[in-house]
Assembly symmetry: D2
Homo-oligomer: 342 residues x 4
């Protein structure tokens, strides 16, 4: 059985496990004051080309979204997102748990279009009842999106300009950031993201780590007493070294981008296989996730050889399934899929 | 200057002020244990034809929605509403303040259609990722709606049936309940509402009271330790008599419905005047609120004689304004409006 | 039956009811933009001798505490109080509902002593683990306290100095402020309070209003978008005129202090009666509340003539009861109590 | 430099790292449905002698406390603890972040005494104002406590009986559970804990894991939709295998207790060394943490050889420091400390 179910079905990149073994008995202070965390932060700042960036390591994606959004919003503000946004659909209400509304706008290809945002903000500030409404206090986007699509540099620049016009921070959820940056179809670089967003995170969990996400505040805008704020949200890891060491490894010798590029190479082959099999794309994406329409009986047969993620029913005969590559997808995995016949 | 701005611009029905004066110096226990409150609850139960109903008095509408929804939802649940629902748009995020997501579905004429609800619930329970999503735990509707429209008995029955199928309480926000029940175009009675919903409130603030809303739990489903729960939400009034006396007055000699019918009589005349003037309806409603499209310059002229509510811009030349009648609209008010010329 | 149960058992001062009747049909905008509210705020600023004060009207005491504290604290902060503080004991956890910890320090006579506060703050800032603790972000005191006692000007000055040293706002809960300022034993004036605190409220509910508390932010420190913040807490009254008119009346012709002084006159007589009867004071207070120890059987007999508040059991034979005077206590009430014999 | 700073300064027990390496490339479903988690739960149930126990794995201690307490309390309830309780002092207000009050009672040796609890509960239920107060809805204890002390079986039995009398769950925070169970001075077994509490957690972070705590609900009392509830609190780990594998390893061949006993052996030697050096115990504990009073200048000298935790100032000349052993303390570490001279 090979797995294309998602990018978090296996453990960690072997280099990470090696570092765990090598450093295991070196005593380090807790809560992120360890030397590995300090080193990881330094390397991330360097990769970003942003010496003044403030980097914070957290455990998981929903946790990171909840922490960043709730510590940056004012009391009377909500967060704007495309309706498909992970925070709007698949985080079980974690943003609302923190007391804030998710203001969902209609998206296209899982992206928030600049004109849609502009129109929403204009209408809000013209609305005579706006003091009885939730103020838009942040814009949330994902890169890659939940459907594997990517904002172009032009789209990102336009969103950024609107946010700056309205003095609202732009936050990018980069749970799969590596796969976006490594895409053959992107014109966006990490430095662009640093320049155009106010805060973003570099996903570790789905890009080779056991767990961990690195939040980057790009211009001295980290909320005050951040450690205390994450502690009270139950998000402070006692052995911060666990996160520090993983990001230190991922940001040594360009490992993060190397394994991301590998996943994209595999994804490009995957798309060929899909086309060869005559399966219909629900979404053909430029990143590591591909969504396809598959008849029910074929889905059942496929499930005996290959693990995949059932997404949702498409029509009465077909289901949408997701096939994802990752840092650990192998040529053998692809060959097994290619060899599958109903 | 006459006012059609809304139904809460003046004080209270004179009968209420008389009762305040008559009872002013009679000492009564606080927090709702006074005799007026006990009497009001009894009269509301009688009007509902529901001796087992539990009635609770609160101060305002947003507060009532926040209290009812947050005390009835489970932790992992959100509340379903039409996208125009007051809780979704005009309560500044009060539901999210209590930690819960508002699950907005596309509405029509400010109403939630039964097939839309059915489809949403079916899709939710078929979704393999539903444990990562907010569970639908209540359905919220308004009667009349935010646009003055009304659910028919058939529509209400259909919604109720779906809620019971899914074991989700149906909650009706009756901020303007009297105006709905008094409409010449409704086939819904108070007893129908008792029968078809699980909890609803009878609006006082907009129907002749200084303040106050009466929540009715229809079948022993009041959350436990309700007084403590409202206290911790800052919603417990020390002098509960203030609420009790008002509802006791409104539910004596059918006053609540008498003044509601008066408002509807005035509204029917108002619609005639609007038609006579050649103004275009944005929404012609069967209740006390009428929404019309008015050119900008005419809006300005009108504002010198008549108070109205600017709703939102319709297009570049015209604005939507709301004209509302109420328990205290007079023939003279209508005559003044009729006499207005640009 | 006469009532000394508490200071919120009757309606409102007759002047307030008269004003309700006089102004009832004058249309006014909602949500605090009415002329009565504007006038009330102006008169309160004048009484405070503080033209720059920002005044906001809310409905009740617990609501006011919850709103003020949760809108002024930072995310990582809690509020410091004497352990007897109303917010710590009798508000059903309303502060914690808003997400913040109440940091209770040992009080004496229901007061927070300056040295106790100083020591706590020093220890906190010396504690190497303080980032894992709740930061003290506000100091809450009551005037009069829950036991009817009063801070002296010296005590208040000392607390204020510490708060300023640590840049923490000092908040005074004045649910019964009039009775404190009217006490024959106080050397504190309203102007002192304006000068020494950062925010306080002038209680209406217990000093002659049907409901209502007036919050005073003394130096431009009202939280931003305050209307939106109170709306989302369910604390915005639609008919703001109800609050405005009451405070406008109470602050016309010194009515607030006149009725407060009356209550104190009555309380001084009450203390004489208590002494004459040989009842033991649990707390003899300089304000309108007196706490006495009373044997169980005498409590039962007294209850047939006089309403009082059972406070809590003192020992196996005696109960603590509270007798309170108010703006509406009459000589006849006192005479009835004086005439009581077991 | 050797470290006695705390029990979470190093990585994980080598057996855990070995298992990570061995299983790294085996694809597994996320969110706790992996085979390692299923196996770990089975082994924990077996160790508990409680086949019906429900076991859930979370990442850290404060997170676990916040999740367990906020998902088990009713809306109107708070959690009772000794004033030294970790949730009351060192979790940055995480319980209040979830909306609930921590009801702190005076403790002795960091323990909550049964008579203190009994008296509190009796007084609460006799208090006529209790509906305005926070209901006690759970009792929280730590084993070992924050000072390393232990409840005796008799003490635990007494607390349990009171909780059952009042139908309040008893929750034990076992961040260092192994060190408590392995103490030479305890008469409490894991089976006793299963029998006497309603929910407890087995700490991994401080007993040999990289991270992780295993919550045990002892009698079918796990809150419903628990996965969704932890997801919305940001506490659901995508790669649940990381937690599952660690607990599976710790509960194979009694590893958890073996390494706990080792830490206790080291602690007994540590106490000897402390006594030999003539240092005064602030708290001599039966578990792995020892608190000693040390003159300032000696503290400084010691810090050059040995890492320890500065706890808090004791008096003007002396500081309280904590020395802790753990699963990875070696004889060499102890020898180095023994050899220290000022």
């Amino acid at each position: 059985m090979v797995s294309f179910q998602c990018d978090y079905t296996t453990g960690a990149h072997p280099a990470i496990l090696r570092r765990f073994a090598e450093t295991n008995m070196i005593p380090q202070p807790g809560y992120g004051d360890d030397e590995f965390t300090l080193s990881a932060k330094e390397k991330i700042r360097a990769a970003c080309g942003c010496p003044e960036a403030e980097v914070e390591l957290l455990v998981g994606g929903t946790q990171t979204n909840a922490v960043v959004i709730s510590t940056m919003l004012h009391d009377y503000e909500g967060v704007v997102t495309a309706d498909t946004g992970h925070i709007n659909v698949h985080e079980a209400g974690a943003i609302e748990f923190g007391g804030h509304k998710v203001l969902a706008l209609s998206g296209k290809d899982a992206k928030l279009a600049a004109p849609v945002l502009q129109e929403f903000l204009e209408a809000f500030y013209e609305n005579p009842s706006r003091d009885h409404m939730v103020y838009p206090g942040m814009v949330y986007i994902t890169f890659p999106t939940e459907l594997g699509t990517l904002y172009t540099l032009e789209e990102l620049t336009a969103l950024s300009a609107i946010c700056r016009q309205y003095q609202i921070p732009l936050y990018m959820d980069g749970a799969r950031l590596g796969y976006g940056l490594a895409s053959r179809q992107t014109d966006v670089t990490l430095q662009d993201i640093v320049r155009l967003t106010d805060v973003f995170y570099i996903g570790g969990t789905k890009v080779g780590a056991l767990c961990g996400e690195a939040v980057v505040f790009t211009h001295g805008n980290r909320p005050p007493h951040f450690l205390t704020q994450i502690k009270r949200r139950g998000a402070l890891l006692a052995k911060g070294r666990v996160l520090g060491l993983q990001f230190d490894t991922l940001f040594t010798d360009d490992l993060y981008m190397k394994i991301s590029r590998h996943a994209i190479d595999m994804a490009e082959q995957l798309k060929e296989i899909i086309r060869d099999k005559g399966w219909e794309f629900y979404r053909e994406s430029p990143t590591n996730q591909q969504f396809i329409l598959i008849p029910d009986e074929e889905m059942e047969a496929l499930g005996k050889t290959v693990q995949f993620e059932p997404w949702e029913r498409y029509d009465k005969d077909r289901y949408i399934i997701r096939l994802a590559t990752s840092w650990c997808t192998t040529q053998e995995d692809l060959d097994t899929l290619a060899a599958f016949t109903r």
